[in-house]
């Protein structure tokens, strides 16, 4: 005769074995984590915009058309035109390309370097760890914007230099977080066993320790995405970021925001909305990632 607990276990197995249709999975996800799903939708939209920019727009993003300078939104210029007559919608769509390029590059490079540094630091310990930690302390002691400004002042403005300037502060941030996670793993016996078996340091780091710090790595990565976009906008606002005529949201705010905010408010509003939406989306998405990966925060 089946006991109550046996029936329960059977039921559980049945439920787990059941293959859910993918749209059912998606709907469940949306219902459980609506904010993260919304963030993900925004991210996907931005990525599509960036990739297919040429197909989504009718105007060249950089050519001047002074006849139409500062034209109000109408049928042709859906969001209006800027001070050089360029269509705002076109520049915002192409601006997504710049923003995401800068954002992803800085986030991925920064997080990866940080992760490698953090794991290596935790693994090797000793003087190496001490020195790296001091370096991390030094760089983290500078406010983000000050560091970025100093780097741009040295290297000059421009997209590549902006990427470098924004990536540098990310590396120690990620290194520090990853290191504290990696420290915990170092004590686990199987790392010692791997060493005893003669595996090389690199192999242990890459194959055993790195995968276990994926959670904090991904969390930092998504956090960096939003930060990078904002930093780029701030640097462009200060005149030290991406330069004309490249379309970039921060640059559009710098040239247009205050100059024409009263007579042509669309020049100031839409780029700001674009930036806010992008960062908003990335942050929501990042929150969702973190909530999923961090078991302590999952609701019962």
């Amino acid at each position: 005769m089946a006991t109550a607990s046996e029936i329960q276990v059977d039921d559980d197995f049945a439920e787990l074995a059941e293959k859910k249709a993918w749209h059912q999975v998606a709907i469940d996800l949306v219902r459980k984590q609506p904010l993260a799903a919304g963030g993900f939708a925004i991210v996907v939209m931005m990525v599509l915009m960036a990739i297919f920019a040429e197909f989504l727009t009718f105007f060249p993003p950089e050519d001047n058309d002074l006849e139409h300078m500062l034209e109000a939104p109408n049928d042709v210029y859906i969001l209006g035109a800027d001070q050089f007559g360029r269509d705002l919608l076109t520049r915002i769509v192409f601006g997504a390309r710049t923003a995401l390029f800068v954002g992803f590059t800085c986030a991925i490079v920064g997080a990866t370097c940080g992760m490698v540094l953090g794991v290596a630091s935790a693994y090797f310990g000793g003087t190496f760890d001490l020195i790296v930690q001091r370096l991390v302390d030094v760089i983290m002691a500078f406010p983000l914007i000050i560091l970025a400004l100093a780097v741009v002042a040295t290297l000059g403005p421009g997209t590549v230099n902006v990427i470098i300037a924004i990536t540098i502060p990310f590396i120690p941030q990620c290194a520090r977080v990853v290191r504290s996670n990696a420290l915990a793993i170092r004590e686990i016996p199987y790392v010692d066993a791997a060493r005893a078996l003669g595996f090389s340091d690199a192999r242990i780091i890459l194959r055993h320790m790195a995968p276990n710090v994926m959670a904090p790595f991904l969390i930092m990565l998504t956090s960096f995405l939003g930060q990078a976009i904002l930093l780029e906008a701030s640097l462009s606002y200060l005149g030290m970021g991406v330069q004309e005529p490249t379309p970039a949201w921060g640059l559009m705010l710098q040239g247009g925001a205050e100059e024409f905010a009263e007579s042509a408010p669309w020049v100031a509003i839409w780029p700001g909305v674009a930036i806010s939406l992008a960062v908003f989306g990335f942050n929501l998405f990042g929150d969702g990632v973190r909530d999923t990966l961090d078991p302590k925060l999952r609701s019962r």
């Binding site: 609506p34 904010l35 001091r134 370096l135 302390d137 030094v138 760089i139 002691a141 500078f142 406010p143 983000l144 914007i145 000050i146 400004l149 100093a150 780097v151 002042a153 040295t154 939003g226 904002l230 906008a233 701030s234 606002y237 200060l238 921060g250 705010l253 925001a257 205050e258 905010a261 009263e262 100031a268 700001g272 930036i275 806010s276 939406l277 992008a278 960062v279 908003f280 942050n283 929501l284 929150d287 302590k296 925060l297 609701s299």
Partner: protein, 323 residues
């Protein structure tokens, strides 16, 4: 405990020296110097001999290593030097900006805390309900909006709104008056950047409060309290809150440290004569002395705030002391 404190203080020293080296050499990498900028002006012809002279007066013709030693020696004899651009002592230049930045930082922190703690608690207690979603959306919007955009919108709103309702456009004062001399004027200028900045920083603190409280609410002793039959409100106020505040205080302290000197863009928008503006100007002017001292000041504030937080942590949580 005192051993712990000593160890932490000792670790500060290499950090400070590292920061000094880093900023010194980073600045020297910037092409051009203050003399060129001074004498070149708007294209009026500058005699190369004049430029050389200027450089000699400022000690810029010495080898780098000598300049660096001069810089470090300044800390030993408590003489932080003069600004290369204005010639006035660095300490004078920094003093008044420090006052303003400190006030804005304090006001912004107050605003941030006033928003973050109640919202964080609500969000944690009502996790995954629509209240939680609204609060999280509100706070993430604070992080997502570029601070200068928000600032521009605020000022424009004030100008246009005041003209619409009162006939005359009103703008916050653009010069700083210390709060003890004229509190109304002072607050009229500083409340807006404080709110704009505070909203942004409340976002970080809100999420920290939320996650810290969530963690604590899962703990066994809270389950026990619930099992004992205590009202939820009592549980939160008397048991959970205290223990969850520690990481929140950490975040707030660290954010405060960043507010000093990190508000570069906000100060531009609101025309505040603060440390951030001074930093941008001294970098633009290639005023090495000024920039170095300013950066070191910000680094020192940050490092000592961290130290304070570490000591606080160790004091409140004995497990850390003995690790």
């Amino acid at each position: 405990m005192s051993k712990y404190i000593l160890k932490r203080i000792l670790m500060l020293i290499p950090t400070l020296i590292g920061a000094a080296i880093f900023v010194f050499f980073l600045l020297r990498l910037i092409p051009g110097d203050v003399c060129e900028l001074r004498l070149a002006g708007t294209g009026l012809y500058a005699d190369p001999a004049e430029i050389l002279l200027c450089q000699k007066n400022l000690g810029l013709d010495q080898p780098l290593f000598v300049q660096f030693l001069d810089f470090l020696w300044g800390y030993v004899i408590f003489d932080l030097g003069d600004s290369m651009w204005t010639g006035f002592p660095v300490v004078h230049e920094i003093a008044i900006r420090f006052e303003l930045s400190l006030q804005v930082a304090i006001m912004a922190t107050v605003v941030a805390v006033a928003i973050a703690i109640p919202l964080g608690i609500i969000s944690a207690v009502k996790q995954n309900t629509w209240i939680d979603y609204v609060v999280r959306t509100f706070s993430i919007a604070g992080i997502a909006m570029p601070s200068f955009w928000l600032g521009i919108l605020i000022i424009l709103g004030l100008l246009i709104g005041s003209q619409h309702f009162f006939g005359e456009p009103w703008m916050p004062p653009i010069t700083y008056v210390p709060i003890w001399i004229d509190p109304m004027e002072n607050l009229a200028q500083l409340i807006w950047p404080a709110v704009a900045t505070g909203y942004r920083y409340s976002a970080v603190a809100t999420r920290m409060t939320r996650s810290a409280l969530l963690e604590v609410l899962r703990e066994d002793y809270v389950r026990t309290a619930r099992a004992k039959g205590l009202i939820e409100k009592v549980i939160i106020n008397r048991h959970a809150l205290k223990n969850s505040l520690l990481p929140v205080v950490t975040i707030i302290a660290i954010e405060f440290a960043f507010l000093m000197g990190g508000l570069v863009v906000t100060e531009q928008v609101f025309n505040l004569n603060g440390l951030g503006k001074l930093f941008v100007e001294s970098v633009e002017n290639q005023d090495f002395n000024m920039t170095q001292q300013l950066v070191m000041l910000v680094v020192v504030i940050f490092v000592f705030t961290n130290l304070f937080v570490d000591i606080l942590y160790a004091w409140l949580d004995p497990r850390i002391r003995y690790s």
